[in-house]
Structure formats: structure tokens, C-alpha cells
């Protein structure tokens, strides 16, 4: 792609000026397009063949969305780049579009292709901030249509253990985007962070580390040497430690809200990958506003006892006001629950702490009661 860029620049035009280029004006318009096709993000909608400039990417650990297959893309206007950040979402320039399509193939054992497209969500970086939009696909799969109110879509598929599943997939309404995509009460992306992106992708030009590819394509500036970038941990990676896998899972599935800048900051339960205080992580922490969600249990995490841990109770629920996450799933992620149960079982007699990428961790502290206080 770089060679093509150079050639076209020499020829007096840029790859973004070709037919089939992304329509940035449509994306930046005051009124969103009614149909996804109007943005020209894809050369071919049904196969999700991206237009020039729309770069596919993957993340190490995905948010569980009822086992839907998710395909992610990023577009930046020509000549602009995102700024690298070590721990948070990169700073993206105006005109950036993050694209995420959700779909179900018939049989998850047979393919990782997206199958039947359900929705495509966009996060568009306007001058005043981010805008979240979702487009729901028609059954002919020829186009997707802007949805304000969301929708319920019945889906059926065979899961990766061969079990036939049925679910009511929920397309969120426009307000609900901000329920999770909220950083200090401002709409913001969640996924494109160094620790999620620092992995290889199979580009048409060969396998390459995504961050380095972004840098070489002019999408990312400020990238340090890869050795200085936080490593990526996939929750499924059998070679990685249980601790790092579980923390990666919690980071991606919970910490969009359960962090100081997120929608659940008032609970004091903080689950980002870098969180170091075991109490904030939930160890022997009493619930704050869980109500019935506590399942009559006393602590968010009881080391060694997943069955007494509110965290696991809520992950296993599908009832409103009990289930966690609150939005974004209707099924239980059984594999994720197993991982967290295993992690909590092994927590007994072990200190729990943050795993910043150089592997430091901290011990739990001891409590004090008012009868022991001098003043």
C-alpha cells in the first residue's frame, strides 16, 4: 500500500482521491447518513471489503457480545495520525472513524468470518467530540440503516463446542452507547489502546505487528520501540499466566465502566489492567450500590471462593439489575466465567495486585477498627 501511495502522490493524486474512497464529508455532516453505504466505508458492503484507507485491526481480548463475531476497522483522513499513549486510548484526530461490524456465522466452529451481518457501529471523531451511531443490516445484506432506537434481533448459531444456541441480540439505542463509552462523562472509544493492539495481524502484505503497521502507514505517531509498549495478553492464551489472562478479561469486559473515569466510578470497584489496590479490585470489598445484585453475598471477591463472590454471581446472571455488564449481552459468557472462577480460586494465600507490564504487584493491607484508633 505504501508503494501505491507514493506512486499516486507522484502522479498528483492520493489514494484517498480514488473512486471508492471513504466519504469524509458524509461522515462529518451534521445529520448522519440514513444508509451505511453513503459513507463508502466499504468497497463491497456484503463482504465487508474495506475501502482504501479503512484499515482492519483486531484486539487481544474482546468484549463479550453474545458470541457475535466482530470485525473492526479504523479510518483516518489522509495526512492525519493518531498519537500514541501507553495506557489509554490513542488520541485520534478529527475525521477518524472507528468501525465495528457484528455478525453470526451459522457455525462458530467452522469459520471466523462474520456471516450474517447484524449491525455496524461507528464512532466518528467530529470537531466537538465523538459521535456514536449504529446501522442495522437488512436481511438481504445489501445495506444497513441508521437506528436511533436500537432493535432486538433473534439469532441462532452453533457455538464453538457444537451446541446450538438461540439468543435475542440487542442492538443498543443511541443513548446506550454512552453508558459504556464514557470517559469523564464524555463519549470516547474504548478499544484502541496499546495493550489491545500490540499483536500481529495478517495483512495482505504479510504478518506484521499492528502498531508498527499503523506507524508505517502514517496512522500512528509517537510509537516507541516495541519493547517499551505494554505487552498484549489474550484471555485465551494458554501460555500466558492465569493472573494476566483474568486481568485482561476484566479490563476489557468491565473496566470501561469500572474505573475512576467511567460510569461505575461511584462504586469504588476499579478493574483496569493497571489497578494495583486489591480492595479496589474487589478483594473483600463490600458492595456499594448492588442491591439485589449482591445475591445476598457479602464481598465482591472472596479469595479462594468464587461461589461466594459477587463478581461471579453477577457475571452468571442474565436478569436486569443483577447482570454485569448491565448492557451489551443477553447470554452468559461461560468461558469467561470459568476463567474468573479459576482466577478467584487461586487467589487464596496469594497477594493480588496490579500487573503493570513490568510485573510489579502489591500486597493486601490490613484493616483497622475504630476501637483501635487513638485519635
Amino acid at each position: 500500500m505504501r508503494v501505491v501511495e507514493v506512486l499516486l502522490v507522484l502522479l498528483g493524486s492520493s489514494p484517498w482521491a480514488l473512486a471508492g474512497e471513504v466519504d469524509l464529508d458524509a461522515l462529518m455532516a451534521a445529520e448522519p447518513a440514513k444508509r451505511l453505504s453513503e459513507y463508502r466505508l466499504f468497497e463491497e458492503l456484503r463482504t465487508q471489503q474495506p475501502s482504501v484507507g479503512l484499515l482492519p485491526y483486531t484486539v487481544a481480548t474482546e468484549l463479550f457480545s453474545d458470541y457475535a463475531i466482530k470485525k473492526r476497522y479504523v479510518y483516518l483522513p489522509f495526512g492525519t495520525a493518531a498519537s500514541y499513549h501507553e495506557t489509554e486510548v490513542f488520541k485520534f484526530p478529527v475525521g477518524t472513524v472507528l468501525v465495528k461490524s457484528f455478525g453470526y456465522p451459522r457455525d462458530l466452529r467452522e469459520t471466523e468470518e462474520i456471516g450474517r451481518l447484524i449491525e455496524t457501529r461507528l464512532l466518528v471523531r467530529l470537531p466537538g467530540g465523538w459521535r456514536a451511531l449504529t446501522y442495522i443490516w437488512n436481511s438481504e445484506q445489501t445495506d444497513a440503516f441508521w437506528s436511533l432506537a436500537g432493535a432486538l434481533v433473534d439469532v441462532a448459531f452453533t457455538d464453538s463446542s457444537g451446541v446450538r444456541r438461540e439468543a435475542t441480540y440487542v442492538v443498543p439505542n443511541q443513548n446506550q452507547c454512552k453508558s459504556c463509552h464514557s470517559f469523564n462523562q464524555t463519549l470516547a472509544p474504548i478499544g484502541p489502546k496499546a495493550r489491545n493492539l500490540n499483536r500481529e495481524y495478517s495483512y495482505s502484505s504479510g504478518n506484521e505487528n499492528q502498531l508498527e503497521y499503523w506507524k508505517a502507514s502514517g496512522y500512528l505517531k509517537g510509537l516507541p520501540e516495541l519493547t517499551e509498549v505494554p505487552p498484549s495478553v489474550s484471555w485465551k492464551d494458554a501460555e500466558a499466566s492465569l493472573e494476566s489472562r483474568a486481568r485482561s478479561y476484566l479490563d476489557v469486559n468491565c473496566a470501561h465502566c469500572h474505573r475512576e473515569e467511567g460510569a461505575a466510578s461511584h462504586t469504588g470497584l476499579l478493574l483496569t489492567y493497571g489497578e494495583e489496590k486489591s480492595l479496589s479490585l474487589g478483594v473483600r470489598k463490600r458492595p456499594v450500590a448492588a442491591g439485589r445484585g449482591s445475591g445476598e453475598l457479602k464481598f465482591d471477591i472472596v479469595p479462594g471462593k468464587p461461589e461466594e463472590s459477587i463478581l461471579v454471581y453477577r457475571m452468571k446472571s442474565t436478569k436486569p439489575a443483577v447482570m454485569m455488564p448491565e448492557l451489551g449481552r443477553s447470554l452468559v459468557h461461560e468461558e469467561g466465567v470459568s476463567l474468573i472462577e479459576e482466577w478467584i480460586s487461586e487467589l487464596e494465600n496469594r497477594s493480588v495486585g496490579g500487573l503493570s507490564f513490568n510485573g510489579r504487584s502489591t500486597r493486601t493491607t490490613n484493616g483497622i477498627s475504630p476501637f483501635e484508633m487513638l485519635w
Binding site: 440487542v170 443513548n175 466510578s265 461511584h266 456499594v288 436486569p320 439489575a321 484493616g367
Partner: protein, 435 residues
């Protein structure tokens, strides 16, 4: 442009009543924006899929717009959310416009408010799976004549909170009704500058609960038939570490004897049935001129947070609690719950009107209380009191009787100023009586 901007600022005061061509003010920036055309009220039509139409209206509303809900009873299966500043969501009356969430399948609350300067008034919300109305990280939100009710009465399966502002400021809750919450009817969490007035809270576990909040005036409310009437707690391990300046004035806190139906494990599960007002670790709490009575355990209990905690910045002791001019009806005849058992043992039955556990830091137990931390009692001569002398009881091997003398607690301190809300300043309403 400056002239238009100035006109815009003046027009802002009349914004809620303006019809026809109005100048919209972009909140927080002070700029003025002229709209061509009419910004009249949105009126979602009743009928099938009312919930979807209402949610769309709440997404499409422009700042300052009125959304008028029709009279009628509407069944909703999804929680609602509002993220537009200045919107007024108005029904035809708390019993006339009813949003029933009995069939709720998605969403953790009935209505989630995420934007500022919102007013919700004149409608009822029933039987939400979780909380009734939540306002999270917002400013200047008004709840007026709204009702959140769990229609089956007290039940552990009911949602936790009826009206729940959290991490917010400048909140007004007036003339509203909450019934049946399994935690607190009106719950103020980690917020500041709040007024609760003229409300009825009944058959909740805690009628009104103030937690880790600052500058909250609770006045002229009727708090009856809850497990406990009013709770003021400061708890550890929360992002907002402390709270202070809570005023509980001119309320009627009566017959709060409902069994505790909260799910175990929550802070409020420890609230004893028959509690009028319960203070845990509160700071600068003023309890004046209330009518408190027919509470089977105790009318007023002032206590420290006595569980173990790890939060280094947390202070578990109540400071500067002023209790004056209250009328105490008969109470304490049937103490219940863990607190009731403790009181039965220490004070006997009937339990005195006012209880202080006497838990203080060791320095204070030896040398006496600092002025700014002490208890102030100015009640009538026939009010009964007991200091449980918990420190002495723990430290001495011999039995320690409670101390029923009130004389040493006589005294007063200045009252904090009444809470002034931007909403009230605009409409010229008066604040809580101070004297």
C-alpha cells in the same frame, strides 16, 4: 453578536415557558443560537411501542425542550435514558401518567439521567427491576411531583432505590413519593448541594438515605412505615471519602417499623426496624424540630462505623451532631434487629428517645471531646437519652451502665447556611428555615 448573547442570557430565565421562536442557549458556553422555526413540546403518542417512541423523543430532543407525556398507563420493557441538557420531562400527574416496568427485560433502572439542568415532573414509575430514576454525574436536576413505587409493597425483589442522584450536585427533590424500595426510597450518594422537601417516603427499607454527601437539606418530609426513617451514613472505600452539613429539619418521622426487607450484604441490611433517624459517622449533622415517634427501636441513634476498614483517609466517628427542638413521641417499646438486641441489653425497654454509642477515639475517651466533634443535645426535659459508653464497656472487665444524663451535652453551635440551589434562585423559592 454581544447584544444577542446578552439577550440570550436573559431569555434563559424564561426558557421553560417560551414557545414559538426562541433563542437557544448552548449551556455552559454562554453563546446564543437562534433557531428558525418552532421549538414546541414533543408529545410522544400513546399506543403500541410507546416506550420506543418515548426513547426516540428523548434522544432527538434539543436542549431545553419539553417532552410531554400523555395521560395513561404504559408498559415498558426497556429502561429509558436521557442525555440532553435542559430537557423537561413532564407527565399529567404522578397517578395519571404511569410508566410501568413490570415487564422490564433490559436496563438496570427505569430512567437514567445523564445530562444537566433536567427536570422530571408529574409522572409515576412503577415496578422497575432495578432503581427507579437514577441521575449520575449531573448538575442542576429537579425531581418534582414524581412517584416511584413498587406496587407489591415491601419485597426483597424490589429495586434498590426509588430516586437516586449519585456523584451529582444541585439536586432538588420536592413533593415526590417513593414506596417500596428495597434499599432506600430517596438515596443521595456522594453528592453535594441537595434539597429534599415535601416528599412522602413509605414502606422502603430506608425512607431517605444520605451517604457520603455534603450540604443536604432534608425538610418538611413525611417519612413513615419504613424500616428506618432517615439514615445519614459516611462509609469507607468510596471515591467520595466523606460528607458533612446535613440538615434534617421539620420532618415527620413516624411509625418506621417495617421489617428489613433488603438483600443481605448491603449497608442498609443493618438498619433495625423501628429506627427513626440513624447517623453513622455523620459530620455536622443538625436534627431540628422534627416530630419523631412510634418507632419501636429508637427515635434517634448516633453511632460510629464499627466494622473494620482499610481506607486510610476514612474517619469512622460522628462529629458535631446537633439535636434540638424535636418532639419525641412514644418509641423504643419493641426494639428489633441487631441494634434492638444491643439496646435491650444496655438500656432496657423502653429504649430512650436518643442513643449515642459513645464510641470515640481513645484520646477523646481519656481527655474529652474536642468542641468541633462533640454531641449537642437541646431537647425538652422529658426527652430520654443514653450514652452507651461502649469504650468503657469494652475496656473495663466489670459491667458498665449507660449514662442517661443529658446536661453535659447542652449547648449549641452555628447552623450551616441553608442550601441554595440554582433552580430555586431562578424561581425565587425560599430555602429551609434556619432558626
Amino acid at each position: 453578536m454581544p447584544a444577542v448573547a446578552k439577550a440570550g442570557v436573559q431569555m434563559r430565565a424564561k426558557l421553560w415557558r417560551a414557545r414559538g421562536q426562541i433563542i437557544l442557549v448552548v449551556m455552559g458556553l454562554g453563546l446564543a443560537q437562534v433557531t428558525s422555526g418552532v421549538t414546541s413540546a414533543i408529545r410522544p403518542q400513546p399506543g403500541r411501542d410507546f416506550g420506543t417512541r418515548l426513547q426516540e423523543a428523548m434522544i432527538l430532543a434539543v436542549p431545553g425542550q419539553v417532552i410531554e407525556l400523555p395521560e395513561g398507563r404504559f408498559e415498558l420493557s426497556d429502561g429509558l435514558s436521557l442525555d440532553v441538557d435542559g430537557v423537561i420531562l413532564r407527565g399529567a400527574g404522578m397517578h395519571k401518567t404511569v410508566l410501568s416496568f413490570q415487564g422490564q427485560r433490559r436496563g438496570s433502572e427505569g430512567l437514567l439521567i445523564m445530562s444537566d439542568q433536567v427536570t422530571v415532573e408529574d409522572f409515576g414509575i412503577e415496578d422497575t427491576r432495578g432503581d427507579g430514576i437514577v441521575a449520575r454525574s449531573v448538575k442542576e436536576v429537579t425531581f418534582r411531583r414524581v412517584r416511584t413505587e413498587w406496587t407489591g409493597g415491601p419485597n426483597v425483589a424490589n429495586g434498590s432505590y426509588g430516586i437516586y442522584p449519585v456523584q451529582s450536585r444541585d439536586i432538588l427533590i420536592e413533593d415526590s413519593v417513593v414506596v417500596g424500595a428495597s434499599d432506600a426510597g430517596i438515596y443521595i450518594g456522594q453528592s453535594e448541594n441537595v434539597v429534599i422537601r415535601g416528599c412522602h417516603t413509605e414502606y422502603n427499607v430506608a425512607g431517605i438515605e444520605i451517604e457520603n454527601s455534603e450540604r443536604v437539606d432534608v425538610h418538611q418530609n413525611s417519612v413513615a412505615h419504613n424500616t428506618g426513617g432517615i439514615a445519614v451514613f459516611i462509609l469507607p472505600n468510596l471515591p467520595r471519602k466523606t460528607g458533612k452539613q446535613i440538615q434534617i429539619l421539620d420532618n415527620k418521622i413516624w411509625e418506621n417499623n417495617t421489617p428489613n426487607f433488603s438483600p443481605p450484604g448491603n449497608a442498609v441490611a443493618s438498619l433495625a426496624p423501628g429506627t427513626g433517624i440513624h447517623i453513622i459517622a455523620g459530620k455536622v449533622v443538625s436534627i431540628l424540630r422534627n416530630k419523631i415517634g412510634q418507632n419501636n427501636t429508637v427515635n434517634i441513634a448516633v453511632m460510629a462505623y464499627t466494622a473494620e476498614f482499610e481506607d486510610k483517609e476514612y474517619n469512622p466517628f460522628p462529629h458535631s451532631i446537633l439535636i434540638a427542638g424535636n418532639t419525641h413521641g412514644e418509641s423504643g417499646h419493641y426494639p428489633a434487629g441487631e441494634l434492638g438486641r444491643l439496646l435491650r441489653r444496655r438500656t432496657g425497654v423502653p429504649v430512650p428517645d436518643i442513643i449515642w454509642d459513645g464510641v470515640v477515639p481513645l484520646r477523646e475517651w481519656i481527655f474529652g471531646a474536642e468542641v468541633e466533634e462533640r454531641l449537642y443535645l437541646n431537647e425538652g426535659m422529658d426527652t430520654s437519652f443514653a450514652n452507651l459508653r461502649t469504650m468503657s464497656e469494652r475496656l473495663f472487665p466489670w459491667p458498665v451502665a449507660v449514662d442517661r444524663q443529658m446536661a453535659e451535652y447542652r449547648g449549641t453551635r452555628p447552623l450551616p447556611p441553608s442550601v441554595r440551589l440554582p433552580q430555586d434562585v431562578r424561581t425565587g423559592k425560599s430555602a429551609a428555615r434556619k432558626e
